[in-house]
């Protein structure tokens, strides 16, 4: 029942669709059979060359052969080519380097039966919803050396990365590799380094996305780590520096692959991965959706899709979302869903440092990055993990011209030895740094508490916030009433009275509003309307930081 054929009526649509199919962009660089033998061989071998081309092409397309494909399917995984096909628009994939073979001549590797056209990776470019993207997909089936990385494999990846940088289009890596090709020795290591360098050079120029769809161990992990987003597939993907066997022999720890580097570990504990999906299909389809949020490069503005949600829609539910008791929690996601187009929010790292919420949404069709303190978890305080999570997200948005909307309800930084010893000062500074250096449109809404240094950090006016709003429930102060009164009126009687006075003075948006630190106090139900209007205005915002080689963020 799942396979349903859809026939569209309406000729214009059909035309549009057909033209999509019939107009895969022609490539300049691609498959070209070059003949290097002596000219007099040429005529004789012409037919046989044609034949060889066909044979090699067939071999490349079949990967490890039907048996290997079935084995891959039995493991609940798709083949490298199936993945590419599913990720890209139908018939849009243009493959590069199908004829590349490895050049290793040790350990009998030079034998013909040990060479596979295309080696252990499929590379090329194609389209996602009509927009250009470069892709590589590693072939981890056991014929092509377990998808291990040879010099040729690395070279293929480098080629598409170089071109992606030149034309300004994102790179998506589908990682599923057994690691370095040991037979090639240092050549394989050099290959990794070539990729790492390109990852670094491309960082902030084009979006780079890694989807881990199988094992990814040793040096290989650093390529995903350098990219902007790392997604994983539950139960079938692993990321670790050294596997359970080595761990056992070195530290005597008993740990499974899943515990050491599975999707759950990296999305909830280590924060290495940004999100995990149920299976290959779920992951690839979600990646298509995610791709729609991203600009193609740092020269491109945030994409705008067709939007059916009125930009001036009032959200009455927001008027009651913040509880009357200041100590009571609420769900920041209620606010985010309320204001976003069609209540859609692509959350990044939903299971890690849950006291801050980050992710992508659209406002009147335009991609925005949303950062919000989450009062439901640890009162929404800032700690080491949430600061780092927030900072990285803010820097991505800033690098790729995505406006940032910040919802503030923060009681401050989390106190304690664990945090201080862990370096909350240094890590907290990252978030401060990220917000301060960002030059994209920045809109801030204080929904309730904005206390202490955390107020400054959360995209305050002082850090060049373009539009800063407060809801009537906002309280901007150095600290909460109780703590403040204990300091100001230390040892005095009538603490309760003093507290009431403090609340009267500071537990409202006026102290910030009279100083112009918030631009307006708005009714919560109006928030969507106001932000959409501001984004329209700020679309032409131009702001630059002083020239520098690069800033020195406190890493």
């Amino acid at each position: 029942m799942a396979a349903l054929k859809v026939v569209r009526s309406g000729s214009r649509l059909l035309n549009g669709f057909q033209s999509l199919l019939n107009n895969p962009r022609k490539v300049t660089c691609g498959v070209a059979a070059t003949v290097t033998k002596h000219p007099r061989w040429y005529c004789v071998s012409h037919l046989s060359v044609q034949e060889r081309i066909e044979r090699k092409r067939k071999a490349a397309l079949s990967g490890g052969g039907q048996q290997r494909i079935e084995a891959q399917h039995r493991r609940g995984k798709l083949t490298a080519r199936e993945r590419v096909e599913l990720l890209l628009d139908p018939d849009s994939f243009v493959e590069y380097d199908m004829f590349v073979e490895h050049r290793c001549s040790d350990f009998g590797m030079e034998a013909d039966h040990n060479k596979y056209p295309g080696d252990s990776v499929v590379t090329g470019q194609g389209r996602i919803n009509g927009r250009l993207v470069y892709v590589f997909s590693q072939v981890k089936d056991f014929t092509v050396f377990g998808g291990s990385l040879s010099g040729a494999h690395a070279q293929k990846i480098c080629k598409i990365m170089d071109q992606a940088m030149m034309v300004g289009a994102p790179v998506i890596g589908l990682n599923d590799s057994g690691g370095a090709r040991i037979q090639e020795g240092v050549e394989s290591l050099a290959g990794y380094a070539d990729i790492f360098l390109r990852n670094v050079m491309a960082s902030g120029v084009i979006p780079q996305i890694s989807l881990i769809m199988g094992p990814c161990a040793g040096g290989a992990v650093y390529s995903p780590a350098l990219t902007d987003f790392t997604f994983m597939v539950k139960d079938t993907s692993y990321l670790f520096i050294t596997g359970p066997d080595v761990v056992k022999s070195v530290t005597n720890e008993d740990v499974t692959q899943e515990e050491l580097g599975g999707a759950k570990t990296h999305t909830a504990v280590s924060g290495v991965a940004h999100k995990a999906f149920e299976n290959d299909i779920d992951a690839l389809l979600n990646l298509r959706e995610f791709f729609n949020f991203l600009p193609l490069s740092n020269k491109d503005s945030a994409p705008i899709t067709e939007c059916h949600d009125p930009s001036d829609r009032l959200v009455p539910g927001l008027d009651t979302v913040v509880p009357l008791e200041t100590t009571k929690a609420y769900d920041m996601l209620d606010i985010i869903h309320g204001i976003a187009d069609e209540r859609e929010f692509f959350e990044i790292m939903p299971n890690y440092a849950k006291n801050i919420v980050v992710g992508f949404a659209r406002m009147n069709g335009r991609t925005v990055g949303i950062v919000g303190n989450q009062p439901k978890v640890a009162s929404g305080c800032l700690d080491i993990n949430s600061s780092v999570k927030g900072a990285r997200f803010v820097r991505f948005c800033d690098a790729f011209n995505i406006p940032i909307i910040t919802f503030v309800d923060v009681p401050g930084f989390l106190p304690g030895t664990a945090q201080e010893y862990g370096g909350i000062i240094r890590h907290g500074a990252k978030l401060l740094f990220a917000f301060a250096e960002a030059t994209v449109p920045k809109i801030t809404v204080i929904t309730r508490k904005a206390y202490g240094g955390a107020y400054d950090v959360m995209s305050s006016k002082h850090l060049r916030g373009d539009v800063n709003y407060a809801w009537p429930s906002a309280e901007v102060a150095v600290m909460g009433a109780k703590g403040a009164v204990q300091i100001i009126f230390r040892g005095k009687e009538n603490q309760a009275e003093a507290e009431a006075e403090y609340v009267e003075k500071f537990a409202n948006p006026f102290p910030a509003a009279v100083r112009g630190f918030v631009d307006d106090i708005i009714q919560p139900s109006m928030t969507r309307k106001r932000i959409c209007r501001d984004l329209e205005v700020l679309a032409s915002k131009k702001q630059a930081n002083p020239w520098k080689k690069h800033a020195n963020i406190p890493l």
């Binding site: 349903l4 599913l86 299909i281 705008i304 059916h308």
Partner: protein, 657 residues
């Protein structure tokens, strides 16, 4: 604003969350009592003046007479309308108001007392020549006495709270064992709901209809009957769908019931609006059940067919005016139906309470002849403190068919997101052939759904329709996600496949080919709207898209019931068979709370051996006690709750080995 003019405002709000509020009439403006969590509810906002009477738990607020009297004093209220539920039938409250010189908008204390006590009311009814049910006219002391009396009357018997109403503290017993258990539950529930654990027992009339007569009486000895309301569709003795008039009554029976109701009202010198409830058997014999000395939840349907504003009439009577109408003036104009929209999961015993935040809420008030009485709005929290009623949805038509048709449309256009609701059940009831033909009884739900409610069962053509709608929606969304606007890089703008908004309408008509079957689907495909009007093969429907995911999962509310569908491209569908099935958690030895509530009692401890069906603990939610039983015979591994704990839906209570 005069009190009279403000009454419709009050009335429409009186449905607010099960009538939890009291209205106070001051010199002129409308004042309303409320509890702190409901500060931002609609009825409070609509009032001219509002007074907080306490925190959420009802015994500290709406049941707290001191607080309400104080509120009346503070605001200088001249009269108090008690709404329904809570103190609306509390004679002590009426007496204390009178002592403070504040008018209680309702009957005299004498009538409340007489009718509020089921034992006394039955004696009075007998005396007034009203047909009554055979039973024991006295308070039952303990479970053993209950068993003895039940034996005398003959099973089945009904055990109910003397002070009760609304199905609370009521149990049916078919044997001695059930009588003992019923006695225990009813007395506990009666104590917690009414602060009075006295019980009585009577003959239970099998397969009856519940038909009630609305009466209206003044302080000058005049009384009228305003026709009947049929409230047979019930679950756990609580009404779900009501209609006026009843399909079952002929004019003679109606008249006989009306006259008996009026004679009972006169026998207790009743004034104000009241309801005399009857059970009617298949031979149209009717028996007096009880008299409710307040405005009923379902009063709007009577207003619809008679044209009388009951709240206005109550205020007039309270002020001492004589009735404006005579019996001959009371018409039956058309037909009215009321559905009680609850925040409940209808798939669990026809409705177990659910809580949550109404993330989206849209009443179908744009449809003509639809009235929605509610006290909530988008963003409101449905909490565990009150009855889980969201609203009363009333539709009117010149004929029953028309009213039903409108109800169907209204239910399809009712947007409730964030809490589980009973619209699937309501829509099934009102379209069920037995209901449509009028063949109903209080056993309707058990008889029609003996295995429990399972949602709408799709016919073949409905199945095609649903699939085609989902596929068309998927395609519309896919096509839209290819449309980018604004300044993309130059090369893209020249690409022919980037459609601009002018082309949007092109995909309005989609033709879906389902295994060779052609289905035409058309819609505006407004993907942001909660309601999705579609025309499928010429049939117009409103479906609701509850959720849509990138991986093709689509949740559609279609014919009231929500269906989970998955639409994949051909390629993805072909590959999907390779994806591993994920095994869900084994739940046979785990007892989880089926709803949010509080733990009243835990009957086992770790190490005990429990038999299948044995009670493990009791959860109270929305004032209903629910016995949680063991699914198998096993040893108790661990107990994760204590009496008095508050638990959420799905919380682990007890683990078995």
């Amino acid at each position: 604003m005069s009190p009279l003019r403000s009454s419709p405002v009050f009335r429409s709000a009186s449905g607010s969350r099960g009538g939890q509020s009291h209205c106070l009439w001051t010199q002129s403006p409308l004042t309303r009592a409320f509890v702190s969590p409901s500060l931002r509810l609609v009825h409070v906002k609509m009032a001219d003046e509002a007074v907080c009477v306490g925190p959420a738990p009802t015994n500290k607020s709406y049941l707290n007479m001191d607080a309400i009297l104080e509120a009346a004093r503070q605001t200088g209220a001249q009269a108090v309308h008690p709404g329904y539920g809570f103190l609306s039938e509390n004679k002590e409250f009426a007496r204390r108001l009178a002592a403070h010189g504040v008018t209680f908008i309702g009957p005299d204390t004498h009538a409340i007392q007489a009718m509020g006590d089921k034992i006394e009311s039955k004696l009075i009814a007998k005396k007034a020549k009203v047909n009554t049910i055979p039973g024991f006219d006295g308070v039952v002391k303990d479970a053993e006495e209950a068993v003895r009396i039940a034996g005398e009357i003959g099973y089945p018997v009904m055990i109910k709270a003397s002070a009760g109403g609304g199905g609370k503290g009521m149990r049916i017993a078919w044997n001695d064992e059930e009588t003992r258990e019923g006695f225990r539950f009813s007395s506990q529930e009666a104590a917690s709901s009414f602060g009075d654990d006295r019980l009585l027992i009577e003959k239970f009339i099998d397969n009856p209809r519940h038909i009630e007569i609305q009466v209206l009486a003044d302080k000058h000895g005049n009384a009228l009957w305003l026709n009947e309301r049929e409230c047979s569709i019930q679950r756990r003795n609580q009404k779900v769908v009501e209609e006026a008039p009843s399909t079952f009554l002929d004019p003679e029976t109606r008249c006989a019931m009306g006259e008996q109701a009026v004679s009972l009202a006169k026998a207790v010198q009743y004034s104000s609006a009241g309801t005399v409830e009857f059970l009617v058997d298949s031979k149209k014999n009717f028996y007096f059940l009880e008299m409710n000395t307040r405005l009923q939840v379902e009063h709007p349907i009577t207003e619809c067919i008679t044209g009388l504003d009951l709240v206005q009439q109550m205020i007039r009577v309270a002020k001492g005016y004589p009735l404006q109408h005579r019996q001959a003036d009371i018409p039956i104009n058309g037909w009215a139906i009321e559905s009680r929209v609850y925040a409940e999961d209808p798939y669990k015993s026809f409705g177990l309470p659910s809580i949550g935040r109404l993330s989206q809420y849209q009443e179908p008030v744009n449809i003509p002849a639809v009235r929605v009485d509610s006290g909530i709005q988008e963003g409101s929290d449905i909490s565990i403190y009150y009855d889980p009623m969201i609203s009363k949805l009333v539709t009117y038509g010149s004929t029953r068919a028309e009213a039903l048709q409108r109800m169907e449309e209204a239910l399809d256009n009712y947007v409730i997101r964030g809490v589980t609701h009973n619209i699937p059940l309501l829509r099934e009831i009102i379209t069920h052939p037995r209901f449509v033909s009028g063949d109903i009884s209080t056993k309707f739900l058990q008889e029609v759904y003996p295995e429990g409610f399972k949602g709408h069962q799709l016919s073949d053509s409905e199945r095609w329709e649903l699939l085609a709608t989902a596929v068309a929606l998927f395609v519309a969304a896919q096509l839209r996600s290819q449309r980018f606007l604004g300044n993309l890089s130059d090369e893209l703008e020249t690409c022919s496949h980037v459609c601009l908004p002018g082309n949007s309408l092109v995909c309005r008509f989609l033709q879906v080919d389902l295994d060779g079957k052609r289905v035409d689907v058309s819609s505006e495909w407004n993907l942001a709207s909660a309601l999705l009007p579609v025309t499928v093969n010429g049939t117009q429907r409103t479906v609701q898209c509850l959720s849509r995911s990138a991986s093709g999962e689509i949740d559609l509310q279609y014919l009231g019931t929500s269906y989970k569908l998955r639409v994949l491209s051909k390629l993805a569908a072909a590959l999907n068979k390779h994806m591993p099935e994920k095994v869900p958690e084994d739940t046979s030895s785990i007892l989880r709370s089926p709803m949010p509530g509080s733990v009243v009692a835990v009957s086992v401890k770790a190490g005990d051996t429990v038999a299948e069906g044995q009670e493990i603990c009791v959860i109270e939610a929305m004032k209903m006690q629910n016995s949680m039983t063991a699914a198998k015979t096993a040893k108790v591994k661990s107990v994760h709750c204590n009496a008095g704990d508050t638990v959420g839906e799905g919380d682990l209570l007890v683990e078995l080995e």
